[in-house]
């Protein structure tokens, strides 16, 4: 479904991503792991069009998506959440999600009909699904950190994506919240037939949830394979798991 081949991106002299490759098949739950600064977020920004790669190929459903602006890539069916809660803090929770639903339905330029009558059901369904329905009228900026992260995912769901990219969905969460969020992600993937690409620091979570794992270091792809293969790989053990696995 998504194919990243030998992609390179440098900022000045710094090689953030170097010859990275990644393959995501339909229905997969792919995790990208690697130490801080390994280039995970940069890789996601390259896929979603926030950044342009210097070299390499990125195709989604057999079509080249390099050089497309972010909003076009999103319309092809890729939605994402951000590492730092990236929501609309002044708008209500409902409006936050409605913005992306309206965008997906191409209704964001309707001028003379009240917004509160449009895309209401779809938005409510998503809020019900992620468990934020009772907070729908709250101002998004007033939500707890954990709820803001969930809202991030809800906004991404509003686009009805086929592939959803989650940049550290559980960053800053307590262990209980982390477990809850990952259960939610897994359930959403099953219910909605979503393909998920995510990165995550908690190794227990990764090896528990992912169907395929890609390991990065210094911007390079070390290996991509099933959790068993990755766990058994000597280079990964030495580089990242510290031989503990």
């Amino acid at each position: 479904m998504l194919l990243v081949e030998n992609v390179t991106k440098s900022f000045g002299d710094f090689l953030a991503v170097h010859e990275a490759s990644l393959r995501v098949d339909k229905g997969d739950l792919v995790a990208v792991i690697g130490p801080n600064g390994a280039g995970k977020t940069t890789l996601f920004n390259l896929i979603c069009g926030q950044l342009q790669p210097d070299k390499g190929r990125i195709t989604f459903k057999e079509e080249d998506i390099i050089a497309l602006p972010p909003h076009r890539i999103c319309r092809r069916g890729i939605a994402r959440s951000f590492q730092i809660a990236n929501i609309f803090p002044r708008l209500s929770v409902f409006r936050n999600v409605q913005v992306s639903v309206l965008s997906q339905q191409r209704k964001s330029t309707i001028l003379f009909r009240p917004a509160q009558t449009i895309a209401v059901k779809e938005t409510r369904d998503i809020l019900d699904d992620v468990g934020l329905a009772d907070k729908a009228t709250d101002v998004a900026g007033s939500l707890s950190h954990g709820d803001q992260r969930i809202l991030e995912i809800a906004i991404a769901l509003g686009n009805q994506p086929e592939l959803i990219i989650l940049d550290e969905p559980t960053a800053g969460m307590s262990p209980e919240e982390t477990a809850g969020t990952m259960a939610l992600v897994r359930r959403l993937a099953e219910d909605r037939g979503l393909t998920i690409l995510f990165c995550e620091h908690d190794m227990d979570v990764v090896f528990d949830v992912a169907s395929s794992i890609m390991v990065m270091r210094h911007g390079e792809t070390i290996i991509q394979g099933s959790p068993e293969t990755v766990r058994a790989n000597a280079e990964v053990q030495q580089a990242y798991l510290g031989g503990a696995a």
């Binding site: 069009g49 929501i87 803090p89 708008l91 409605q98 209704k107 964001s108 003379f112 009228t137 686009n159």
Partner: protein, 317 residues
């Protein structure tokens, strides 16, 4: 759960204000009617600016240009052509919107302050044309004695004409700001990066907002001609743009009707304090300093906050 698009109280209040304003010319001396008409014109201009500044988050620093373009377009059509007057009233806002989009096309490529800087430069170009092109615009003299159509030439009918257009424009703007577009625009203001990631063409939405705002600025320009019967390059000068910007901040740029209040305060101040001293801007300066310290959300924002604390509704902006 589902609220009406405008709640009953605000509808009643708006209707009440409208009735009072409609009755005022019956009791007020002419000078005050004139000042009110001027306030309405300026209020429409400030409201149009707030659409891009308060709701769109763009630093439209030189909004006066589009006000001036509207005014000049009408004045030129009335003085230099024999086309029917209504055509002038229709063409002026359209010309402003076209100019707005043209300048906006360059500006939306930049963000925040750079947007504003570029706009000041491009806008000043338009001012320079109006200031220098004597053959067409009368240069720094402007155009005086514009023949206003008979029906609205005298003060009282023009007052109602302006009041009607202001009310209609505010209703349309209100609808737009409550529409999916209005919501998306506020989302773009709060977080353009996120908007792109949910498939929103940010620049396109910004341009649409600029087109709408400059259209209404042009309309305000035509109303200025109706009140004053003349145009001059100061209408496009950056000082006026700054004043309008201040009206938005003063009234409350995250509120709907705040700029109307801001316009009323500043026009009244200029008119009444200006009688006593030409340094009335000093008073304005002091007000601004107080505003920044005590009412960062503007007068209307402050009032809404007070009101909402009691009624406990959501304070979504």
């Amino acid at each position: 759960m589902r609220q009406a698009i405008i709640n009953k109280n605000s509808l009643l209040v708006s209707a009440g204000i409208l009735i009072v304003l409609a009755c005022l010319p019956l009791v007020l001396p002419k000078f005050y009617v004139y000042v009110l008409a001027l306030i309405f014109v300026t209020a429409l201009l400030a409201m149009s600016l707030n659409m891009v500044v308060g709701h769109g988050g763009m630093y439209q620093f030189h909004h006066g240009v589009f006000y001036g373009i509207g005014a000049y377009t009408l004045a030129l059509m009335l003085t230099k052509t024999s086309l029917p007057a209504w055509l002038g009233f229709a063409a002026a806002p359209v010309c402003s919107a076209l100019a707005g989009v043209l300048i906006g096309l360059f500006c939306v490529r930049l963000t925040k302050l750079y947007f504003g800087m570029l706009q000041i430069s491009l806008g000043s170009l338009v001012w320079a044309i109006a200031f220098r092109w004597y053959a067409l615009t009368g240069g720094d003299d402007g155009i005086h004695g514009v023949p206003i159509p008979d029906g609205i030439a005298s003060l009282i009918p023009s007052y109602y004409f302006i009041l009607f257009l202001l009310a209609a424009s505010l209703a349309v703007m209100y609808l737009i700001l409550k529409s999916p577009f209005g919501n998306t625009l506020r989302a773009v203001r709060d977080n353009p990066e996120r908007c792109e990631a949910v498939g929103i063409n940010v620049r396109f939405h910004q341009l649409v907002a600029i087109a709408i705002a400059t259209f209404f600025a042009g309309l305000a320009g035509t109303l200025f001609v109706v009140v004053e019967g003349s145009v001059f390059p100061d209408l496009l000068f950056w000082v006026l743009s700054l004043e309008v910007f201040i009206m938005c901040l003063l009234g409350g740029w995250f509120t709907f009707a705040g700029p109307v209040l801001g316009a009323a305060i500043i026009v009244a101040l200029r008119t009444f304090a200006g009688v006593y001293t030409e340094y009335w801007t000093l008073i304005l300066g002091v007000i601004l300093i107080l505003l920044i310290f005590f009412l960062p959300e503007g007068v209307m924002g402050f009032l809404e906050e007070k009101f909402k604390a009691r009624t406990q509704t959501t304070s979504e902006r």
